[in-house]
């Protein structure tokens, strides 16, 4: 009886081993993914717009992202607009609208290694706090460096200096943080 039981159990195990095949998982669209950031700068004195971008089509893993820098004119003021996309979707999903809908929970911050390059907010959420999807960028003397664009989710917008664009006390968690090289000529 003992032997039979052992044999039966062993046989069951073998049957299970060969019979089952794990079902294919559903490869769904990744929600909430941001693959692309485009920062379009239009000179107020006229001329062609410049687009700075950070593109990482396959998300966190896989291939390295593509970063496109740009050349700006010295002592110029640009109208800046930010666009966020999920290009894994066809057509690409516009994440900018998601941010705009939850503008009270989001804020962009701009920092540059070029000291006289500044970015000012030109938009507001319902509470009168800045968001940063629209802004103006002002260049000073010629220099080479980079601009860091950060998007914080659930920052403390009322904390000291956060509304003027100082990230120090903002807190929250980072949804975007990209560093794009720029050249001011």
């Amino acid at each position: 009886m003992k032997k039979n039981l052992f044999a039966a159990l062993g046989l069951t195990a073998v049957l299970f081993l060969t019979a089952c095949e794990k079902e294919e998982p559903h490869v769904h669209n990744e929600e909430e993914l941001i693959t692309t950031l485009n920062y379009t700068l239009t000179p107020t004195s006229g001329g062609n717009a410049i687009t700075l971008s950070f593109v990482d089509l396959d998300g966190d893993g896989g291939d390295a992202p593509t970063i496109t820098g740009g050349t700006l004119a010295a002592n110029e003021t640009y109208t800046g607009t930010l666009e966020l996309l999920d290009e894994t979707q066809k057509p690409a999903e516009n994440i900018t609208t998601e941010i705009a809908e939850e503008d009270d929970e989001h804020q962009f911050f701009f920092q540059s290694s070029i000291s006289d390059l500044t970015v000012a907010y030109t938009d507001q959420d319902a509470d009168g706090n800045p968001v940063g999807l629209s802004n103006t960028l002002t260049t000073g003397a010629a220099a080479t460096g980079s601009i860091t664009i950060t998007l914080r989710h659930e920052p403390s917008k009322s904390a000291t200096n956060v509304s003027t664009g100082d990230i120090t006390n903002a807190g929250g968690e980072t949804d975007i943080e990209v560093v794009i090289p720029i050249d001011v000529q």
Binding site: P25, R152, E173
Partner: protein, 776 residues
């Protein structure tokens, strides 16, 4: 006197010889002695375990328990200044026994029930008894074990913790709930074992080199969480516990009810918990609440003492909040958090609210065990069990996705086991068995994210055999085990276009052990245990891919991992020279070849969310070694104390550096005063078992770490004091035990190296627990 006793025994045997086995009219009679002085002990309390229908021995130490049915019993004897003793008895007729009680001062470890000890010959065992479980029913499994030598807790905040034994945890530590290897997402350091310890009567920790009888990737230690058999005592019995904690305003309610009848025996245990935000000495830990509801049902039936069928079903459901301030984005956020004294999102108000980030976890178990005696000395056991583990983790997400989990895993496990035991000749015992476990793990696509670990089915088939023998003062035990594991994995590629990638992995693993225990003299014992075991890489080690939000690191599996091999030796020495003093020392060394660990990669990974450190599973050769020391002493009958020290080192041989995430050394001490007399507070109302206990836990700084191995240096050493006062009120036939316990008495600010949230916040401040235990 001796003749009188013999005569009594003879008379009892005659009187009850005729009694029917079906009726519950059997009795146990006996006499209780002091083990050391051999003098009778008067007025010892005896009960068939957990019954409140206690009987007291008379002034000559004689006792009498009646109305018992045929079957297995656990007789418990308690007497102040002596260790409580539980004796397993198989009652078929009226029985007379002599019981010897050991004065409290002799090592706790010897309390392990005889029948168990046999199975663990040469294994160092530590057990947590029912009283300890009842008094700490607000704690989780890890919390119950953390003051034992060689054990530490890995925490993720205050509510989530898992045990680490001799430096091994997660995939390397086997936890058996009711004899079934706990299945679920054990790989996650922020995943607590889904077990309610209140349903158990005993938690046994085996710290040996290898325990071949249990399935799981065990390279040494095993934790057994076990309910006892239902006592064959007619009548309904039960217990209700209520505990209130000040830190987190936590309510904890446990209840247990059981009854035996010759037809069927049943027991129900349940727990309800609700906690709000905990607090450090200075601020609230927002979103660290906890809710838990669990229930266990146990049924036992036997036929003619030959066939025993036990049914066990349990459901465990919990919602755990994770500190909001620990949910961060990239490395910049982490660096910012490290400079903050108070975590972000800290609010001035207490709340029971649990919001994202949070975990919703359910674990259900159904088990049927059949025990059949082929002959008196031959036993066949068949166990069939199913488990369902449902884990959902919620992160802070955009656009109303906060209600959609970021991780959603469903795991079914089917376990079966067949064991054959034979005892023959002069104390020979052989045990043979086979075990099968089928695990089916599926990600729910609802998350809208790439899964952290892939879908898979795993089959594991194991065969084992153990042989043991006792020759006078020497026990030896040998064991071998072989497992065949087959993993069928279906992963989604990390590169575009997304594709389905299938992996089929067969693994052969093997383990063996040998143990010997020698009683050197009446007061000394030494045991040596050696074991070699191999473990196949787990799914997460092979294929995990993604971001761990809590430490803002990307974890990458490694499909080239090989089988991990480990060789462990333990040597234990016990010395109990007098009734008031005992010492135990356990030294262990474990050598690993191809030790699997998370290695931080030199380059950061650039993503649109910023830079992240990358950790990849790699293999190295390593040593883990340490020493567990413990001593117990008693001064007079009222004062007793314990001192425990655990030392551990982990070393990466190949890279010539320390192993990360190893427990720091620690010291635990407790001093207890037990008031010898009962205090009468009213008519037929007494205050009994009055005890005061002062405890101290000192955790050394983990200095065995290089600065480049972590984001922040290990926290400094800390010391915590605790105080407990307890008493039992006897009102007529009812007994209510109550206690007040203060943890972190001096409200110390501290952080712990093995708490993953140490980057973000301090640990809990002072906590006062009020407990009431009512037994029916």
């Amino acid at each position: 006197m001796f003749n009188k006793k013999l005569l009594l025994l003879f008379i009892f045997s005659l009187i009850f010889f005729e009694s029917s086995a079906q009726d519950c009219t059997l009795s146990i009679r006996g006499q209780v002695f002091d083990e050391v002085s051999k003098m009778p002990l008067s007025f010892v309390t005896l009960s068939v375990q957990q019954s409140t229908r206690n009987r007291m021995a008379n002034d000559k130490g004689y006792f009498y328990l009646d109305s018992l049915c045929v079957g297995e019993y656990q007789l418990s004897c308690t007497y102040l200044g002596y260790q409580s003793k539980i004796i397993s008895l198989d009652i078929r007729q009226d029985t007379f026994i002599n019981i010897q009680l050991t004065p409290t001062s002799i090592a706790l470890k010897t309390v392990v029930v005889e029948a168990k000890k046999e199975a663990f010959v040469g294994q160092s065992t530590t057990s947590i008894d029912r009283k300890n479980i009842e008094d700490n029913s607000n704690k989780n499994l890890s919390g119950l074990l953390e003051n034992e030598t060689g054990v530490y807790s890995i925490k993720n905040g205050s509510g989530i913790s898992k045990p680490i034994v001799h430096g091994l945890y997660g995939n390397r530590l086997t936890i058996l709930n009711n004899g079934i290897a706990q299945s679920g997402q054990q790989w996650g350091n922020d995943h607590s074992p889904e077990i309610d310890p209140f349903a158990a009567d005993k938690i046994i920790l085996l710290k040996g080199a290898s325990t071949v009888e249990y399935d799981g990737g065990n390279l040494g230690s095993v934790i057994l969480v076990e309910p006892s058999r239902i006592q064959r005592y007619v009548g309904l019995r039960g217990q209700v516990n209520y505990l209130l904690e000040t830190n987190g305003l936590g309510h904890n309610l446990n209840a247990r009810l059981q009854q035996y009848s010759p037809f069927i025996a049943w027991r129900i245990s349940g727990t309800l918990k609700k906690y709000g935000d905990k607090n450090t000495p200075d601020y609230f830990l927002n979103n660290t609440g906890l809710e838990q509801a669990s229930l266990a049902v146990q049924l036992e039936k036997s036929w003619k003492n030959k066939l025993f069928i036990d049914f066990y079903a349990s459901t465990f459901n919990t919602r755990l909040g994770v500190l909001r301030g620990s949910h961060i984005g990239n490395l910049t956020d982490l660096k910012q958090a490290l400079t903050n004294q108070v975590p972000f999102f800290t609010e001035p108000n207490f709340s029971y609210q649990i919001e994202a980030p949070k975990q919703h976890v359910s674990h259900h178990l159904v088990k049927i065990k059949t025990k059949y005696f082929l002959k008196k000395n031959q036993l066949l056991e068949l166990v069939v069990a199913g488990q369902l583990n449902d884990r959902k983790e919620f992160d802070v997400r955009r656009s109303g996705r906060i209600d959609i989990p970021a991780l959603s895993l469903l795991q079914y496990t089917f376990n079966s086991e067949l064991k054959y035991t034979n005892r023959w000749g002069q104390n020979w015992k052989i045990k043979l068995g086979m075990q099968n476990a089928i695990t089916d793990n599926t990600n729910d696509a609802e998350t809208g994210l790439l899964p952290l670990i892939p879908d898979y089915i795993q089959w594991k088939n194991g065969l084992f055999g153990t042989l043991s023998k006792t020759v006078k003062k020497i026990h030896f035990n040998l064991g071998v085990r072989y497992d065949y594991t087959y993993q069928k994995v279906v992963a989604i590629s990390t590169t575009l276009p997304r594709e389905i990638v299938r992996y089929n992995n067969p693994f052969h693993t093997f383990s063996s052990m040998a143990a010997i225990e020698i009683a050197l003299a009446k007061t000394q014992a030494i045991s040596f245990n050696t074991g070699y075991a191999t473990r196949n890489p787990a799914i997460n080690e092979l294929y995990s891919s993604g971001l761990h939000q809590g430490v803002s690191g990307i974890e990458e599996g490694n499909i080239h991992l090989k089988i991990e091999k480990a060789f462990k030796n333990t040597l234990e020495y016990k010395w109990f020279p007098t009734a008031n003093f005992s010492v135990s020392a356990l030294a262990y060394h474990q050598y690993f070849e191809d030790y699997i660990y998370l290695n931080p990669q030199p380059e950061l990974r650039l993503t649109i969310r910023g830079a992240f450190p990358v950790f990849e599973y790699q293999q190295t050769d390593a040593h883990i070694y340490g020493l567990d020391l413990s001593t117990q002493f008693a001064i007079g009958k009222s004062i007793s104390g314990v001192l425990k020290y655990s030392y551990l080192r982990g070393h990466d041989i190949a890279n010539k550096q320390p192993l990360i995430f190893m427990p720091p050394n620690r010291l635990f001490g407790s001093l207890k005063y037990a008031h010898q007399k009962n205090i009468k507070i009213a008519k037929a109302t007494y205050l009994q078992q009055i005890e005061f206990e002062l405890t101290n836990r000192f955790i050394f700084e983990q200095k065995n770490l290089l600065p480049e191995q972590d984001f922040a240096a290990a926290p400094p050493a800390y010391t915590l004091f605790g105080l407990k006062a307890s008493a039992a009120i006897h009102i007529k036939k009812y007994k209510i035990s109550c206690f007040v316990k203060i943890d972190n008495l001096f409200n110390v600010r501290y952080r712990d190296y093995l708490n993953r949230q140490r980057y973000f916040s301090d640990e809990m401040g002072r906590n006062i627990t009020l407990g009431l235990i009512f037994k029916l």
